[in-house]
């Protein structure tokens, strides 16, 4: 009988497989079970202007069916769909023909991943630290004000916050670059100038993600800490003369962080949504911008490719957090 860490590992891997399985199935259902035929729609759009010969239309229909993976019966289509996912081949992009979709996504993914990692870690760390302090020093006025501010931004969706920052720094007080990933026409070498440009272009996307994200971690940590400080062992430590910083750091925060890590894994999907929405607002050259422009030019294989890659990437990231989780919570090992 396996137990402890291996069992935990097996469970997490199973969950990962399930997320990918259900996610891909949803993508399949959405693309195949709708009454609308994408092929006929594309043909209608293409033949809207001017007349096209019937032979050309037949040829077009044939190649489009192939491209959309609509050949054969539903079972065959389903198998073909999975095969494409498994080998990561979504065919050529329609809008950037003949570049393969995987190349386009591969080019955009590093931008999204770095934006996501930096902003999430920053937000999570800062939110938990401030929230922990606010829970421990409940009477502190500055921390209360910080909490109020974090809460005010928290319920506003990513798009609106990003949009507000865009208006403020694009029109009212234009000091920061509001579009793109680096200065246009700059050579992409690793010079200080280029890195500086990269950083300054990342400020607004990171800030808007942080503004929305901070409140959640802040409030969660504050209520966790304010419950933990009433526990007996904290009172005992205080009576025993343990330094306050040590109580807060090793006695209170460490315990409170455990559910916050689970929370991070659970909200990763939502954070990812926020990141790609924010990218689009600031024209950041990541997956989100690619996705929206793919829809606008009608690039089916690219949209499908991005959806699939997103599902797999987010579940991989969740798996990674799950695997690190036992480092923080030793109970997993003995269970």
């Amino acid at each position: 009988m396996i137990s402890g860490y291996p069992l935990y590992l097996l469970g997490r891997l199973g969950q990962f497989a399930l997320v990918v399985f259900i996610g891909i199935n949803i993508a399949f259902i959405v693309t195949h079970a709708t009454p609308i035929d994408p092929v006929e729609q594309s043909i209608a759009a293409a033949t809207q202007f001017g007349s096209t010969s019937p032979e050309a239309i037949a040829l077009m229909r044939q190649s489009l069916r192939e491209l959309y993976g609509l050949e054969g019966d539903l079972a065959e289509q389903y198998v073909a769909f999975w095969r494409r996912v498994a080998v990561g081949d979504f065919g050529p992009s329609l809008s950037a023909f003949p570049t393969p979709v995987s190349v386009l996504i591969g080019r955009a993914l590093p931008w999204t991943v770095s934006l996501l990692v930096v902003s999430t870690l920053l937000t999570w760390a800062l939110g938990n630290l401030l929230g922990g302090l606010a829970g421990y020093y409940a009477k502190n006025r500055t921390l209360r004000l910080a909490g109020l501010l974090a809460m005010a931004f928290h319920p506003i969706p990513y798009y609106i916050v990003a949009f507000l920052l865009l208006i403020v720094f694009g029109y009212l007080w234009p000091v920061l670059p509001i579009s793109g990933g680096y200065k246009m026409n700059m050579t992409r070498d690793w010079s200080w100038e280029f890195i500086g440009s990269l950083l300054s272009h990342a400020i607004l996307p990171v800030c808007s993600l942080a503004l929305v994200g901070l409140g959640g971690w802040f409030m969660g940590m504050r209520s966790l800490v304010s419950n933990i400080v009433t526990e007996d062992y904290v009172t005992y430590a205080e009576l025993g003369g343990v330094k306050r910083g040590r109580i807060l750091g090793s006695y209170v925060m460490r315990n409170a962080l455990v559910p916050q890590v689970t929370g991070l894994a659970m909200s990763l999907g939502a954070i990812f949504n926020g990141a790609i929405i924010t990218e689009q607002v600031f024209g950041y050259p990541g997956v989100g911008t690619l996705l929206v422009s793919a829809v606008h030019v009608g690039d089916y294989s690219l949209v499908l490719g991005i959806t699939t890659v997103s599902i797999v990437a987010v579940s991989l990231a969740v798996l990674l957090i799950d695997l690190l989780y036992p480092l923080l919570d030793p109970r997993v090992k003995v269970r």
Partner: protein
Amino acid sequence: MGRIFIDLLRLNRQFAAGIVLLSLVTLFALLSFVSPYPPNDSFVVPPDLPPSWTNLMGTTSRGQDLFWLLTFAIRNTLLFGITVAVISRILALVIGLVAGYSGGLVDRALMSINDTFIVIPLFPILVLFYFVMKDHMSWGLLALMMACLGWAYDARLIRSVALSLRTREFTETGIFSGMSMRRILVEEHLPYVLPIVFSTTMNNINWSIGFEVTLSVLGFTDINTPTVGVLIYWANQHTALVAGIWWWIFFPVLLVILTFIGLFLLAVSMNEHIDPRSRLGRSEG
């Protein structure tokens, strides 16, 4: 129920603020029923007028009075949020209660599926959905889709309460007196989880409106039904900011932010009220 409401209003400033904000927004939405202009008519007033006493929020480049147009938009947006919340509530309740009550394998299976729906990034899926539907996309269809994808977080919460209800004595009594599972869940367990359902409903409305606004601003919904997001979409299409028609952007954004903060305050304060520890802390201090 009425007693709780008055207590909350008196003791909890967050709740009171939330109620005031939402009442204002609702009142504004109700004004749409006395609007002098139908929502989809354009060029009924001179275009691009700044806010004045005759046009309180100015007019759009499409010759619409922004004040009256916005009453329709916020009504549709609120209705959207409520529709999604009602449908997803039913799903969350059924799955959460059944999982918590059954326990064991059923619980684990349902929660695995549940966690999957929490993790999956919805935005690309909704965009894919729009891409397939294109012109056939409608307000109702999007609401249905969002409801099918947005129940998971609340189902988990409901299940955690149901799990502890399962071990209570009254559940045992119910089982021994031959109540069916359906009756136990509906008559015995449902009343216990309802307070949580109320608070999560606010969060769910917030969530779905947020998505609706985002998708509409990008033009990924039915852009002929006025919602707050669709309004901003048209303003962007007419490059309102560059043209200096700031009111076309400002008022929809302001209104939707007030809605978000109002709903959020209600959710937070109700959550606090449900937890007796924090409720006592508040009424003392």
